[in-house]
Symmetry: C2
Subunit: 447 residues, 2 copies
């Protein structure tokens, strides 16, 4: 058994895929299948309590498509695998000069999408289109899951800032970085993860841990020691011993204290008393942050009860979305194009039906800009009238970017502006109405 | 807003941590706190339906501790963050020459652990011990979660092989690789992820997708085309159209067909009929693999009903553990050591109490090797009698490995052998008994 012994683990994106993508690629190649195939990535059924998703992960998907190469080491490794023993050398030559030469259409990150609507659409020679499946799914499923959960939590926070605190609970270190990115698209104002801040230009937030308090002889000494080092940015953690007593100690720091954090117990009751103590000491600008197993439901309850709070820190619930812990996006073949013409492709299996043909998604807004309904049509089919806005845009053509990609700030603005345009009945945390999406009759398998 | 534009994203482990670890480090440094601190990573309460955990992730934790450095770029970035504006230069000099110089004790990967038992214990100068918290938690929480879920699923499969198929549902590409590793420790025989196979020396498995079948004019043509390219390793997917009809077509391939896979519908009913069809054709060696939203409960039902099955493919349920989607391991300070002596440290907060002092975990076995009970003591406290086996071993001393690390095969064998030694009442999938763990009175906060 090999052990890698590197940190972070050094891995090859071209092999970070399911074996069957590569065997099918070899199979298409060996059978001289050269048609252009169109695959679409969509979510068949939305997770529990969700009636919309915030699309995220496109940037990493694009980076992958543009960078995808098979190194000599990759190919040498593939040749050691039993299924590849008798594969002709010309397939490995093909891999050695592999480039993604196809087309990618996608909704921009931050776009609201609904069940059955393609988030991305790939058209490429079938070998290329098949190989990329696993990586695209892993990337889009994960970030869309987290961006959606973040948007629910940010919505519940009703204007108070939400900071992503989940790195320690994420599925490994890279998952934490990507979750911070997706959470920002979903509306979080920042992350605790310094590297996510550096990579993606997100604001980073930090307070202190209980361990800091406990290493000092007294809580007051711990407070003073921290404030001395960070006079302009100290947020004191109050619940190591008695949070109310700690709030009284915090007033001795004075109005330069940036914030306090409560992390356990009855947050609503504590926050009210802490706010009064701070205000009586003239510390009206000192912010209160609440954390500790928070999610959209608990935050909605806290806001409903009128708790004085300025910021929420959310960890596990944000990065793992425990009430809906995965997104079952699928990547399905819908069309084959060859010199003989266009062939629609679809699945009839019970519960797993798909719709044929490459598609476009259109959105109709009302007079105030509010979302009315979506339509999914064939990509070459008009929506009906010019008010319908097409959502899928061409991002890669002939293997190259069509233009500069949207930056992360714009993705966040897109999500918040689209959520503002979505009527309230679709946004209830529980029992939200299903948004109307109509599918063109030309996409019907029985047509 | 920055966008990285690299695949995989290139990230710095030293900054992939919560900001407060680095501000507390600066705070300890500036306050001349140089004591040796002991932190322990443990799980306070086991997740729902779990009465044991399979420890995993140690290798990546060790790689991190041994490799941890702060590059000039890391330090330059830190200096741009507002909290670090007024931090004296000597702290950054310290970071520039940072090495983990401390000690790591840990249970080997594959060890069964219970609530409250440390999986790892760090003793190091407090600045070092604090900085590493986030990364260690992210690594151990994730892999232990997946290894535990895998062991439950493998147990339910009652001797049939379980293959990890979850990369497309993991929390990003790295999470998929690490999940494949953890699943192997938990007893899976392999993974679909080629790169996980390469990095960790795990067997890789693959079949084919529905898209393969659908691109051919007929199912039989698709079957033959695949078998022609992979005569020794073809597993045909049967449920694209009618699985029973597909099984009949598969018999035309003959006994060289390695396997068939069923991925939807009534798997028990289909598998029985498919097995009969294959057997009647003399294909008794052709294996049946079942997949499609399987977990330990559904697999137990399938086995209970006597389904003829050789292999299970499990994806989302394995890598995301939806019934218990995160592990709330914590990293808690328990002891400070200075020239003035040893100081116990613990938390009293309601529901978040911790136990003071560096600890050892001991296990007592019965005459047949079966597990009887565990004890947790102070690290310098004898367990009572020589039959008690200590579980925490010293892995790193003075910043260096004490010896070669256990390989991944051994970790898998350890897990399966320990599970064999665990009495059945603790292994029920639902309603398992709580395993007895006693804590020495010397660990009592009130003592």
């Amino acid at each position: 058994m090999r052990q890698t012994g590197s940190c972070p683990i050094h891995w090859s994106p071209s092999l970070a895929t399911d074996l069957y993508e590569l065997t099918m690629a070899a199979g298409y190649f060996a059978n001289d299948r050269r048609e252009s195939a169109t695959f679409e990535l969509f979510v068949r059924d939305l997770p529990v309590q969700r009636s919309w998703l915030v699309a995220a992960g496109l940037r990493q998907a694009v980076d992958y498509l543009l960078a995808l190469r098979f190194s000599a080491e990759d190919i040498a490794h593939l040749k050691t695998l039993p299924p590849f023993e008798h594969i002709p050398a010309r397939f490995f030559d093909f891999l050695a000069s592999f480039r993604f030469t196809g087309e990618l259409w996608a909704v921009p990150e931050g776009t609201l999408v609904f069940a059955g609507e393609p988030l991305i659409r790939i058209t490429a020679p079938i070998v290329e289109a098949q190989i990329v499946e696993t990586f695209l799914l892993a990337t889009i499923n994960h970030q869309t899951l987290v961006a959606t959960k973040a948007a629910r939590i940010v919505g519940a926070a009703a204007g108070r800032g939400v900071v992503e605190f989940g790195s320690r609970r994420g599925h490994g270190p890279e998952a934490g970085l990507l979750a911070a990115r997706a959470a920002f698209i979903g509306g979080c104002i920042g992350t605790s993860n310094v590297e996510a801040g550096r990579l993606f230009g997100i604001n980073v937030y930090g307070t202190a841990a209980h361990s800091w308090i406990m290493t000092f002889e007294s809580e007051m000494e711990a407070f003073r020691a921290y404030h001395r080092v960070f006079p302009g940015s100290t947020t004191l953690l109050l619940d190591t011993y008695d949070p109310i007593e700690a709030a009284r100690l915090a007033t001795r720091i004075g109005p330069s204290l940036k914030g306090v954090r409560l992390d356990s117990g009855d947050l609503a009751e504590q926050a009210g008393r802490v706010r009064s103590i701070l205000n009586e000491a003239g510390m009206t600008e000192t912010r209160i942050m609440l954390s500790g197993d928070l999610n959209e439901y608990r935050i909605a309850d806290l806001i409903e009860s009128g708790v004085p709070v300025d910021l929420f820190g959310v960890g596990n619930e944000l990065v793992n979305s425990p009430d809906a812990p995965s997104l079952s996006g699928v990547y399905k073949l819908c069309e084959l194009e060859s010199p003989a013409g266009t062939r629609p492709v679809f699945k009839r299996s019970a519960g797993k039906q798909t719709r044929p043909y490459a598609k476009q998604v259109w959105r109709l807004r009302g007079k105030q800009g509010e979302f009315l309904e979506d339509r999914v049509t064939r990509d070459d089919e008009p929506a009906g009238s010019p008010e319908w806005e097409p959502l899928l845009e061409c991002v890669i053509r002939n293997g190259g970017l069509t233009g500069p990609m949207q930056d992360l700030d714009s993705a966040g603005h897109r999500a918040s502006s689209q959520l503002d345009s979505l009527p309230e009945r679709y946004k209830r945390l529980k029992g939200a109405a299903a948004y109307p999406v109509r599918f063109s009759s030309r996409l019907s398998p029985n047509r």
